[in-house]
């Protein structure tokens, strides 16, 4: 594992992620999540739907960033197609509120990544897409930091559950050790989602239409409800 992955998955990475709950705040407000078992079900569902999609998109972005710097067969770098990949993310994100949250987090991560791992590929992304979706920023940042598409996918899958888990600890006062125990039990799921993401993403660049598009309508609805909620602590 590349050490940069530790930085990219650390909740202390100053890229604004701490203020996003990924639908957890509304899931709690609605009563669907109220203890560790209901949080477990929520996180597992989130990981295998939204998590699987973002992991694949992140791996695709990382592989694409690599292909624009060195092309393994021809030896000539390709032209980045960030706009097309961005459209693939849009097409897989039904909720406007989720699209907005994804672009906000992508913009903030890109800002951090450009200072921490300065590179032409990040500058190129910023020039073409100043508000990239989070998976695109994460995949490109992972490449700039020296990580592989598989590692980038793992980071995305972990992001899909770690931030929501922390939000639940803060909002419900759950035992943080119990919640970290829950995250540990999801390790095999993380491995499986990462493997699936890479199968879909790495060998098809830029055949992105075949990337996973599994939807989570409940998450979409939670995101939309959250965006108009009168009282909220988290951005999303």
């Amino acid at each position: 594992m590349h050490p940069a992955l530790l930085l990219l998955t650390d909740s202390r990475l100053p890229a604004g992620g701490h203020a996003h709950s990924g639908g957890t705040e509304q899931a709690i407000a609605s009563g669907a999540v109220h203890d560790v078992p209901t949080l477990a079900a929520f996180l597992k569902g989130r990981l295998h739907t939204a998590g699987a999609v973002t992991a694949a998109l992140t791996a695709a972005a990382c592989a694409h960033a690599a292909s624009t710097t060195t092309a393994p067969i021809t030896g000539t770098p390709g032209t980045p197609l960030w706009g097309r990949l961005d459209a693939e993310v849009d097409a897989r994100t039904a909720s406007p509120a989720q699209r907005h949250a994804s672009r906000t987090q992508g913009r903030l991560l890109l800002r951090v990544a450009r200072r921490v791992w300065p590179s032409p590929v990040l500058d190129g992304l910023a020039a073409e897409s100043p508000n990239p979706h989070h998976p695109i920023a994460l995949g490109t940042a992972a490449h700039a930091a020296g990580a592989t598409p598989e590692e980038a996918a793992m980071a995305a899958a972990y992001h899909a559950i770690s931030g929501p888990a922390t939000a639940a600890v803060r909002l419900l006062g759950l035992d943080p050790v119990a919640v970290h125990g829950l995250l540990a039990t999801l390790a095999p799921d993380l491995t499986a989602v990462t493997a699936g993401a890479c199968r879909a993403a790495v060998h098809q660049d830029p055949g992105w239409a075949a990337l996973p598009a599994c939807s989570a309508p409940a998450l979409d609805l939670l995101a939309e409800r959250h965006a108009t909620a009168e009282v909220r602590l988290f951005v999303s």
Partner: protein
């Protein structure tokens, strides 16, 4: 928000942008009232923007908008995910994004005020977010608070002790507060205010104006006569 910046890399030394002023302090000490007073007093001679960090909802931003001290569009609210101190100290990304959004939309600005969510005495602004910071206490929290210190009381560029009109009612000794604050702050200034009695916060506004005039930014308007 959703700024469409081409480049987030504003010069860290601040030579091409507005002074960024953090206003922090415990819940109820008068941060929002002070920000409103500064807008009222400085808004005619300076180009301003305000970012609020509410713990809950957008109440502070709404209060400022209702107060009519500044164009509504120049006030942005940031959500802090239950951690107001994280948003101004450890992970300043959302606040920087809001500040740069205001500069992008309305720039060049002279002063951007970032008001923190109410927090405890350990809260302090990152130097990556605020060039100067004010910590606001009030006398009704007790006259022992300055002695307790903490990074806000000790290191803020200006300590404001508000609600002096309540001192006699809560048995707070302003002399003790001044002495204790001086003991932990050395030469750093302390100002006593009652924003209820002086809604212009004249002494604090003068301090802020002096900081703005001495800030190396080329777009200053002429100081108000």
């Amino acid at each position: 928000m959703g700024a469409n910046h081409d480049d987030h890399h504003h010069a860290p030394d601040g030579h091409d942008r507005a002074l960024r002023l953090g206003v922090g302090g415990p819940v109820g000490s008068g941060k929002t009232a002070l920000v409103a007073a500064l807008c009222r007093t400085l808004g005619r001679s300076l180009s301003l923007g305000v970012v609020t960090n509410d713990i809950y909802t957008t109440e502070d931003a709404d209060f400022l908008r209702r107060a009519g001290v500044l164009d509504q569009e120049r006030i942005l609210a940031v959500e802090t995910g239950c951690c107001p101190h994280t948003a101004i100290r450890d992970d300043i990304a959302a606040n920087l994004d809001a500040v740069e959004t205001l500069e992008h939309r309305f720039g060049p600005l002279d002063l951007v005020i970032v008001e923190s969510g109410g927090d405890n005495l350990t809260a302090t602004f990152s130097r990556g977010l605020a060039d100067r910071q004010i910590f606001v206490l009030d006398v009704s929290g007790g006259d022992k608070v300055p002695r307790k210190g903490g990074p806000g009381v000790t290191t803020a560029d200006l300590l404001v002790i508000n609600k002096t009109d309540l001192a006699s009612m809560v048995g707070a000794d302003l002399g003790v507060m001044a002495r204790d604050a001086a003991a932990v702050r050395g030469e750093r200034p302390v100002l006593f205010t009652s924003i209820r009695q002086d809604p212009t916060a004249a002494t604090v506004a003068t301090w802020v104006a002096n900081e703005v005039w001495s800030w190396p930014q080329p777009h200053h308007p002429a100081p108000a006569a």
